[in-house]
Symmetry: C2
Subunit: 334 residues, 2 copies
């Protein structure tokens, strides 16, 4: 079975996916009898199209200089070409504008309107326009999956299929590696927020402008997606009460420590409410994970808590989540 | 869509499942358009059969006295009746004999030979005769699922579907709540093994004869199933190198503690080898969970570790895993 793939966004995640597809081509063929043929790769300033299948090794060999390839077509736009490509799956990995979810939102809508299945890795479209996207996918009888949007490769969304006979009642999670790293370092080393932030920036865990992370906006977006998917809600990020961690100081953390407590930046969906804020938890709670890891605790009606932990970021981490989604879409079509 | 269910074993797990099916009947109908009709319930000494559907509320109201029901048929055997029932799914929840996996093994084989899908909650058949059962299911084009056999409701087996595009390379797990409780108490309280074991027995966490748990046989059986399912191996429990925890003393634990280490009873599948034994791990490792919880760490090729934590035992916990399997089987048939 051949599946034609259109990739929009050739950054870290997009490039990792191409590498994964190239590396796992034979394994995927053997295990799932699927041949993923990448027929288009778009960037903001042009694209590569080859309807008989792009030579991935050639593109990967070029590294960041893929625009030097003879068939690089400057100026063409994914949005304009999507309808003519006859693709089976559109992979959307462009950076999200957190205010309007563009250009990802338009790409997703255009793909669905052309009856192309979608796998997306950026959360903006889903924390802003969840209902609209879901409805459009349904109307066009398309699959849309976006595992990579929450905790990257951790199967936070697909776990639903393994808990289908249970009832998930609430969510407690740590969904941002940057704030978790900062709080972990403040706790273990007794250092102040500003020092820990600087350390995180030097190590590449925090952006030069870390506002979206430390003020909780990033975690809030992911929480909305979790709540909509796992609890069946229909919310947007505007429904989340958000508090950041920049006012936490070393003294507060030390005070908590006396009572065997730690401060964590929790994302909580419970009793109809969505909250992201610093909270005290017990030191031996499974939520007390350190470093940049993410953790998601699902309270269930029939089986207590189910906890998932893993890396929340990284090119290959997101790419492997995308590949999971692609294969799940293809298998369910058969 | 109607699905006729035959339940073998009405102990804690079987009864919890009946309660779950009764409670969730309308929800399952609404969400999945499936009507699970229990047409037979077998115990070792007889059974209830009603081909138009057993009244679950009536059976549940009777509690342990369900044999008083007018249509209780003493002496009938599941093994003999299975072929005449026209059931769609057979649920096997009888206690396993760890040496020969009976009577579960015979029930499973009989069901598959009659082209009945199987959901099983006891691990014996799978750590002793995995290959044989899988082959038989394939030959008869039947589904067989057994999520409840490993870490109960934790989606340790179905997580495979959420990691389908990745490659799981090794497993590190704590799969026995009894030994984990004992080691956790020895660590937190500085008490000796015998005291902690007695405490676990008083709380109902350990059996009167705790040998299978503390000598590692229980964990080894679960490890075999995990390795066969997630790593694609074909092993039996005879391939596991097993060491128990009864020789661990308070002094050893204290010694480890000096270097910020704890002793955990790990089940490991790595480099082609299966091992269950006490191991030193770092205090802040995600594997360092306390109490009776189970934890499963999957190392993946493309996304580092993915960790699952949850309750490893309990009637409703197992029953909800069984219901997950039932729904997954039914949905995939459609």
């Amino acid at each position: 079975m051949e599946q034609k793939i259109c990739l929009i966004g050739k950054g870290n995640v997009g490039t990792s996916l191409l590498q994964l597809l190239n590396e796992k081509k034979e394994e995927i063929m053997q295990k799932f009898h699927v041949d993923y043929k990448v027929i288009a790769i778009f960037e903001h300033d042009g694209g590569l199209i080859n309807k008989t299948g792009i030579n991935l090794q050639e593109v990967l060999n070029k590294g960041k200089d893929f625009r030097e390839l003879s068939y690089w077509n400057p100026g063409i736009k994914a949005l304009k070409e999507l309808g003519n490509l006859d693709a089976n799956i559109c992979i959307e990995t462009t950076p999200t504008n957190p205010d309007n979810a563009e250009p990802a939102l338009s790409h997703i809508i255009e793909a669905l309107n052309n009856k192309i299945n979608v796998v997306a890795s950026n959360k903006g479209p889903f924390y802003l326009h969840y209902e609209k996207i879901k409805k459009l996918a349904q109307e066009n009888k398309c699959s849309i999956r976006y595992e990579a949007t929450v905790a990257s490769c951790v199967p936070a969304l697909s776990v639903k299929e393994g808990l289908i006979g249970n009832t998930i009642t609430s969510i407690n999670a740590i969904l941002n590696g940057t704030t978790n790293y900062i709080l972990s370092r403040m706790t273990s080393e007794g250092i102040e927020f500003s020092i820990a932030l600087k350390e995180a920036q030097e190590l590449g865990y925090a952006e030069a402008d870390p506002t979206l992370d430390i003020e909780g906006y990033d975690a809030a977006g992911k929480l909305v997606i979790l709540a909509n998917e796992l609890l069946g809600w229909s919310r947007t990020i505007k429904d989340v009460k958000i508090k950041g961690i920049s006012h936490i100081n070393a003294q507060t953390i030390e005070l908590a420590s006396v009572d065997e407590l730690v401060i964590k930046h929790l994302a909580i969906a419970e009793n109809g409410k969505l909250v992201v804020e610093p909270r005290l938890i017990e030191k031996d709670s499974p939520l007390n994970i350190s470093g940049t890891l993410n953790v998601i605790e699902l309270q269930t009606k029939y089986a207590g808590p189910i906890i998932l932990i893993g890396r929340g970021a990284g090119g290959f981490e997101a790419a492997s989540a995308i590949l999971n989604d692609m294969i799940n879409i293809t298998i369910k079509q058969k």
